[in-house]
Assembly symmetry: C2
Homo-oligomer: 399 residues x 2
Amino acid sequence: MVSNELSAPSTSQSGAGSLLRLLLDGRPRTRAELARATGLARSTVTPRLDALIEAGLITSHDEAMSTGGRPASRFAFNPAARVTLAADLGATHAAVAVTDLTGAPLATRRADLDIADGPEPILDWLVETGHQLLADAGRQVSDLVGVGIGVPGPVEHSTGRLTNPPIMPGWDRYDVPAKVGAGLHAPVLVDNDVNVMALGEHATTFPDEDHLIFVKVATGIGSGIISGGRLHQGAQGSAGDLGHVLAPHGGDATCRCGNTGCLEAVASGAAVAAKLREQGLDAQSSRDVVALVRAGNMAATQAVRQAGRDIGEVLAACVSLLNPSVIVVGGSLAEAGEMLLAGVREAVYRRSLPLATQHLRIVTSQTGSEAGVVGAATMVIQNALSPTVIDAALAKAPA
Amino acid sequence: MVSNELSAPSTSQSGAGSLLRLLLDGRPRTRAELARATGLARSTVTPRLDALIEAGLITSHDEAMSTGGRPASRFAFNPAARVTLAADLGATHAAVAVTDLTGAPLATRRADLDIADGPEPILDWLVETGHQLLADAGRQVSDLVGVGIGVPGPVEHSTGRLTNPPIMPGWDRYDVPAKVGAGLHAPVLVDNDVNVMALGEHATTFPDEDHLIFVKVATGIGSGIISGGRLHQGAQGSAGDLGHVLAPHGGDATCRCGNTGCLEAVASGAAVAAKLREQGLDAQSSRDVVALVRAGNMAATQAVRQAGRDIGEVLAACVSLLNPSVIVVGGSLAEAGEMLLAGVREAVYRRSLPLATQHLRIVTSQTGSEAGVVGAATMVIQNALSPTVIDAALAKAPA
């Protein structure tokens, strides 16, 4: 009756990948320290360190000991060893960067595009831009440890293919990893933009919080969930789909999904803009709404605050269900600032039990428009430096 | 910018605990097979196997090889090595069992109790019953690998103490692990009953499903969430609290939490019984409601189906948020059978996106009233046999 799924150990105890994991904190350590921390024999540690040095992932340097004895070699993670290509593809714009293994950008490019042009021209452009950015950063294609791509649609986790993406005509079931992998000769990971932003926000701003929800409020509404420190993708990879949850005050607003009363139909940037147009205002998008709020328009301010309340009523259910310690609100409508957040807080605190909100923080995104690129780099790094992937890669390499 | 939380390896690669983890599937293996599977040197495998044999957790036996060569020793997990004490404490009854390390019961006791009697008499009884059951099973207190207890109230994960439990007067902040540990000289794990039932259902019926929600519909309503194969407890341990989510058709029904429109106020066993009393029927509890449904009472049948719909509307939000592959419905009102489930299914399928319900199963609990005890044993076993706990225990033992 015992499940296969025992609780995973907090640190894996062996393998070259596990030595590397220990070294990721940046602190140099001696062979003796590494043996002590992993419980491995020094005779086992040495060949694994050699393999990691050979792969360029760690560097060694000798230090004179204070007691005047023989110098002891210390080993440290080398974040410059390899690079990632990280891309945030939106509906109308893209951001692409080459980063080192800490996620720090070495070369960056922003561009306008139309995702509806279809996968071939967009991904050809991405591959070409990748080569240019590698050149700008003075690196080779062979330095790439992987490519991470965030896209504005639902992604099947197991294949990296989009499934019925509503705003990406021509992309359904297209093999994004194969196309990009052929052009850049590296493993390619694809996920939806909100999951990628959640990863980025978690890694950069809240690395010590195990339970976080990232909500993106833009043309649509979606969320990415960090559970137990890891991205919760769900059985098919569709987890976090807040936009089509019934909003308690959703009424009979018609949604593009075919249902009525969805959160997205009343509180998204598109829904708020439509409401303001009915009042005779010129608002085509969430950016126009933000501009009106910043200009002090009262109707826009009230509409954004009400959108915050509607989102907060759905988030209150998420709080009861998941008990997160942080909710991060991002996306273009979040740039309206405190008005949206005030509405969210009002509803969450009214509808949640005290135990769940006692230590809950509700904040705006710190990574802002960088969240997508940072998250895509994080996705690649977390995968490429995981102990099992490192061990498998070194096992395949010639001894 | 790299998070500390890299994705955990699917199998840990070394340490005695990791050898044991490999052997938990029950298949005997030779030293050579174990070395190959873990990537460890045979000289490293041998002392770790010796430690596990010394601890009684694995057994070895020699087998003649078919080629007529020297017999090779094979090593296998020994589920009889140690035992757990597993307890399911309800509001008015308890079930307690001594189990082996697969969770199979060796001796069982059921009893009526009143949880409102407070922690001292209840836990004194539990310790005494534990000693009796150990004797019945022919085992010693020193054989106990741990004690697992499910309780009908919110538990602070880090301490195992209850926090403001509504139906457990006198238990608030009481140190349950210290009290029971003093009487049974073993580590004690405490969690709320629904989390424990989710663990039990996952381990016994759905071990291969990574994403599962267990909903208990009894006097109150709660849920336990399995995310990525592990229990999702949330930041304070209050995750899964479905009962106080706003029900879309909750109206202004007053809830014992002080809010209005909570799911528990319209769809719990207590709420359905109250509705039937208003219609002149004699229904004091969810068990009375189930009896009326089984007797063919139309009002009771309709009320249970409507409760199912109300629960389903809240579960639809959970499906969008978490994308589980299985929802298990348990608890005393679930014993009304297909009526409750039909209402749940109706609402979930109406309100969820096709991608999330494509492979979703909604089923009644298979472990039934055993779920609590099975889950409490599972909780102990998963903890006690985790690689880190095993390695720490062996490191402390004299060589």
